[in-house]
Amino acid sequence: MMPLTKVQEGTRAVLRAVDGGHELRGRLAALGLLPGTELEVIRNSGHGPFVIAVKGSRVVIGRGMASRIEVE
């Protein structure tokens, strides 16, 4: 397990847990980001928000949010 922020560009990972309030979890869930979901990091430039691919769409996630998403 590691935070999503540590995942390199072009790497696939599986979401395990979201450490956040109702709102963050709800928003991620609606976009298909639930525990067990496979995702791919499209862009992680080391600062600023980054982009992941999930269920056929591209999603931008703020760095702060990403640090609270555990993947493996």
Partner: protein, 731 residues
């Protein structure tokens, strides 16, 4: 029965953001739509009508949402409409290229228990991505009709209308249904996949969840949406819980929900239910969705390599913004001048019906009040229309989401969303369209903060004030730096202000920055024109009426009451031309008469009263009067100063006025005047648009009072700081 002949079917159009929902709505309704705000929130709201024979479809465009949780105003508005207005049919626009994600909302809509028609949009994009969807099978499994559309080409619209009518009539069974379907004509066979299954699909939450749902259901009144409510209650949705009238039942439901949460400690209730929902969707799509062909980087991915590049992203963004700015103001300002001249000419024409120098109140009301007021409204139209064209292009192509990505790094530092940058930039041109541009921000909090600080971005109407004042008080080599200081002061105050608002009034957790990146698309000319048209209409109808009303009131305040002949013009009113204790009746010079009239008017009196509060910042009643007179539009400050100083009609290049200003005020006061006009209460148009866009008078009043207070404080500090440093003397 004649009463059944005219039947209106209410239709809610729901769907994910970027699903092409708005395009479908526009294709269906054409220009017959009405944009407004949902009461109490900043969520935009569109209605439209379609007529087919005796039947009308009344369409409501719900805000684009991914689900129906209680986390955003959009979702609350959407679900409030579905639950309380109970539309006859819900049209659910589904992006075919992103099926599973879009079906999340579909299953929620089905749970609410309203008749649903699924629109599978952008089937062409899905095909290009190598996706094949078995629509027959999907329709059978969902138990709802599916209509295939290509929204931006208007394909499938007749089929959709016919299907909606059929579904509405199946439920209400009225004669005449066949008529509509015939009149709309058969849709192209390839696009029609209408199949009604035995019943609607329901998410099976499994034995871990269902018993709890049963227990909650037993406590709720029997209605279509009961199951959906039970699910939300299990997720501990506060809004749904509050809707239960009986406190006893409320407590019992909370207890069951807590029991459920305690029984599943490893996951939160909402996560469990969402996972179950996705499991059902996954099963639904099994055999429906197949991927053929390659799945390499898409066209959008290739463009994103540049637009979201760590180095090139910002310059590309700035270049596009420059383009938008040039379009809005470069093309718009000549048009504004044209409109301005047109209204001046019209005023001159009307003026011609009265003898020269007439003091007829009717002439003044028509020329200065009404024509001036209407002109003041219409003059913004080119900017607004062009700006919204630029925004429609940026949004329609999908670039806006990239802009938010690029700017988020900078904007998040002041607690704002990446997208806030665009309205703030527009604010340098004109605050009114800039405030309208905040509609691109999803969160109400981001919108309100942006609107509150927007007037600090020095708009084009303040430029004439600087153009008058700077050369009056400063040597040529200082002109550039002084102007720069003024603009930068505004920007810094806006950024600090946003930070402070975030930390005080709008405290709380940041809205999670999670945003879908839609694939790039070519917007259609039709939808661009439609957006321009609806904006223009909205502006003229809503803001226009307020601006016009305010302009007429301001006209009254600056012209009335008229001084009697024995009115003693205040001594030293203008020490160079009017002697002390002169009676108004003895004045002959038109400029002096105008000046004395202004001093006697309500605005002049207010200005004098204001002197008490303006004295500590170095201003006298003349500046106070000009500030009051400049409320309709900031650039009027120049003309008002001209009147106050009895130099007649002047513009910002008037050397006579500059000389008078120099005689009376020090450069420090001149600088303070500019600062004050920059920061203090924005123009009436801004007030009106803030009131309209925030949906409440409260925010508009708060903005005005807050900014004026801020202006006073800043100018007080600058004035007294300057005096201490010995800058108070003459230049």
């Amino acid at each position: 029965m004649p009463s059944t002949l005219d039947r209106t079917i209410t239709v809610a159009v729901a769907g994910n953001p970027n699903s092409g929902k708005t395009t479908i709505f526009n294709s269906l309704t054409g220009a017959h739509q009405h944009v407004g705000n949902y009461p109490g929130v900043t969520v935009e709201w569109k209605e439209g009508m379609v007529r087919r024979g005796n039947w009308s479809l009344k369409l409501y465009d719900l805000p684009g949402t991914y689900s129906l949780t209680a986390f955003s105003d959009e979702e609350l508005v959407a679900r409030d409409f579905l639950l309380n207005h109970k539309p006859d049919v819900v049209v659910d626009v589904v992006d075919a290229s992103n099926l599973e994600r879009n079906l999340f909302l579909t299953t929620e809509l089905l749970e609410i228990g309203l008749p649903v028609v699924v629109v599978l949009n952008m089937a062409d994009v899905a095909r290009d991505r190598g996706l094949r969807i078995d629509t027959n099978l999907l329709a059978r499994r969902l138990g709802v009709p599916i209509v295939l559309t290509v929204g931006n080409r208007g394909q499938g619209m007749d089929d959709l209308i016919a299907t909606v009518a059929k579904v509405a009539i199946h439920g209400i069974s009225l004669p005449g249904a066949a008529d509509i379907c015939r009149k709309s004509g058969p849709a192209p066979e390839a696009l029609t996949r209408l199949e009604v299954g035995s019943g609607k699909v329901q998410v099976d939450y499994g034995k871990q969840v269902e018993p709890f749902l049963e227990r909650i259901l037993a406590l709720l009144p029997d209605e279509d949406a009961a199951r959906w409510r039970a699910v939300k209650l299990l997720e501990q949705d506060p809004a749904v819980l509050d809707e239960i009238p009986d406190p006893e039942v409320r407590r019992e439901v909370s207890r069951i929900a807590e029991e459920f949460a305690a029984a599943n400690p490893e996951q939160t209730p909402d996560t469990i239910l969402a996972s179950k929902r996705y499991e059902t969707i996954h099963a639904l799509c099994d055999g429906v969705l197949s991927q053929i062909g390659d799945n390499g980087p898409t066209f959008s991915d290739r463009i994103d390599r540049w637009t979201m590049h760590p180095v090139w992203g910002v310059p590309i963004f700035l270049a596009l913004m420059y383009g938008a700015f040039t379009l809005t103001f470069g093309l718009g300002n000549p048009l504004m001048d044209l409109i301005d001249r047109g209204f001046t000419a019209l005023g001159g024409f009307i003026d011609g019906f009265w003898p020269a120098g007439s003091t007829s109140p009717l002439r003044s009301l028509l020329v200065d009040g009404v024509i001036g007021g209407v002109g003041g409204v219409i003059v913004f139209l080119p900017n607004i229309v062009l700006l919204f064209m630029a925004i429609a292009i940026l949004e329609g192509t999908g670039y806006m989401a990239r802009a938010a990505f690029v700017m988020d790094r900078f904007m998040s530092k002041v607690g704002l969303h990446g997208k806030s940058f665009i309205p703030l930039l527009i604010g340098f041109g004109c605050t009114v369209p800039a405030i309208m541009a905040t509609r691109t921000l999803e969160s109400r909090r981001d919108r309100l903060i942006t609107i509150m600080v927007l007037p600090l971005m020095s708009c084009g109407a303040r430029l004439p004030i600087y153009a008058l004042m700077i050369p009056a008080f400063f040597p040529a080599k200082w002109h550039g730096p002084v102007l720069w200081v003024i603009y930068v002061t505004g920007i810094m105050l806006a950024l600090v202000g946003a930070r402070l608002l975030r930390a005080t009034l709008f405290r709380g957790e940041n809205t999670p920055f999670v945003m879908e990146l839609p694939p790039y698309r070519l917007p259609t000319l039709g939808s661009l024109l439609m957006q321009m048209w609806t904006r223009a209409k909205l502006y003229l109808r809503k803001a226009g009426t307020v601006i016009l009303g305010a302009a007429v009131i301001m006209w009254f305040l600056t012209f009335y009451p008229k001084p009697p002949a024995d009115y003693v013009v205040p001594a030293g009113f203008d020490k160079t031309s009017i002697a002390a204790d002169t009676h108004f009746g003895d004045l002959h010079d038109p400029a002096q008469i105008q000046s004395a009239e202004l001093s006697y008017s309500i605005a002049g009196r207010v200005g004098r009263v204001l002197e008490t509060v303006l004295r500590p910042v170095g201003f006298d009643w003349r500046i106070g009067t000009a500030l009051v007179g400049a409320l309709p539009a900031k650039e009027l400050f120049v003309a008002q100063m001209g009147i106050v100083f009895a130099v007649g009609q002047v513009d910002e290049t008037s050397e006579v006025l500059r000389t008078k200003l120099r005689e009376r005020y020090s450069p420090l006061v001149g600088f303070c005047i500019m600062l004050f006009t920059l920061i203090s209460t924005p123009c009436i148009a801004t007030f009106a648009i803030t009131r309209q866009e925030t949906g409440s008078l409260k925010w508009a009043v708060a903005q005005n009072l807050g900014l004026t207070l801020l202006a006073w404080i800043v100018v007080f500090i600058v004035f007294h700081g300057g005096m201490l440093l010995g800058l108070g003397g003459a230049a």
